[in-house]
Symmetry: C2
Subunit: 199 residues, 2 copies
């Protein structure tokens, strides 16, 4: 144990996800010993973030205003909505520059084990966005894992009654990967989703 405030810093850092006691200690000592490290900057950014950042009223993405920069952008196609689990998925998809529509952030995925059901996600808000007939396609881009698949299945059934095209991101071999290292499920999906190249 360290003296008072140093231990407090280690404890607080240890509350962050993915940071164990050893990492917390290393970070704390880095902050203590590195005069060049701007601790005031970090502290102020932390306070500012909690104060400034809210979630977009429309899509649930992080935003510094009532609506996020994507929902405010008139160049985005309002006929297409991509449904993701988390705000960080929005950034991942934006990086591909493949998608020019709007997003809808669910805030998680259906997971009975964690006690997360459909009512805990922003599904009602999604249905409201689909009510006026503007949206023609909903792309379900939940994670390709158990919870993400369950959520995708739930959503596709729910949206099946509407006159809207519902699609799901393709599963298959990751680009740049080695076929022999792919797990059976991924390889199976790659077969299932195989596409005609010629003939």
């Amino acid at each position: 144990m360290y003296e008072g405030i140093v231990q407090e810093l280690i404890d607080e850092l240890g509350r962050l996800p993915g940071i164990g006691p050893k990492s917390a200690q290393r970070i704390a000592f880095h902050i203590l010993q590195t005069q060049a490290f701007d601790v005031t900057k970090l502290a102020n950014v932390l306070l500012e973030v909690r104060e400034k950042v809210r979630f977009c009223d429309i899509c649930g993405n992080v935003s510094e205003q009532d609506t996020c920069s994507i929902c405010r952008d008139p160049r985005r196609n309002p006929a297409s909505i991509c449904v993701v689990e988390e705000a960080k998925d929005v950034v991942a998809i934006e990086r591909t520059r493949e998608f020019r529509g709007l997003y809808h952030v669910l805030g998680g995925a259906i997971s009975p084990i964690d006690g997360v059901g459909p009512d805990d996600l922003r599904i009602r808000q999604l249905m409201q966005r689909l009510a006026d007939g503007t949206v023609q396609e909903v792309i379900i881009a939940t994670d390709p894992n158990l919870e993400g698949e369950a959520t995708a299945t739930y959503l596709s059934r729910l949206l099946g009654v509407l006159e809207i095209r519902v699609t799901r991101l393709a599963s298959g071999l990751p680009v740049g990967g080695d076929l022999e290292y792919a797990d059976e499920v991924t390889l199976g999906r790659a077969f299932e989703g195989r596409r005609v190249v010629t003939g």
Copy 2:
């Protein structure tokens, strides 16, 4: 890229040691999304740490006063000084409850590659502490790696001229480890330092 302050938070977190861009992003979103996370507490502790924590005038350990709690403790044996590289080594040794003397924190180890020479360490201050003849043993507890060994060798030569017992922590097999997994150097050291058990 995220909007303004969120990206700033990710950038600032990414400056911490051992935190890459992905971890920084995960931590930032944890802070954003978890209402229960006390961001104000973390921010205040960060500011308080930089304001309050100094290094002990005597031994160089972290302290909230001019001298640290160990140097102030009259029950500690002033005839024995354990020399370590970093303040966190003090905590590691204190946990063993094996040592009741005082410490001296060098602030690093000699490393020509990183441009750290003897003058960059608190070696001069150590020599000053040894001047009045109180100290009878200096235990060198630098890390058992290249830089730590170089520093230990340098110190043992420097202290060799004084009428002081100089010792070095034993190298050998880690307790609870498997002999077959020990590297050659460690196993070699364990042989070199073998002790008579009987006979």
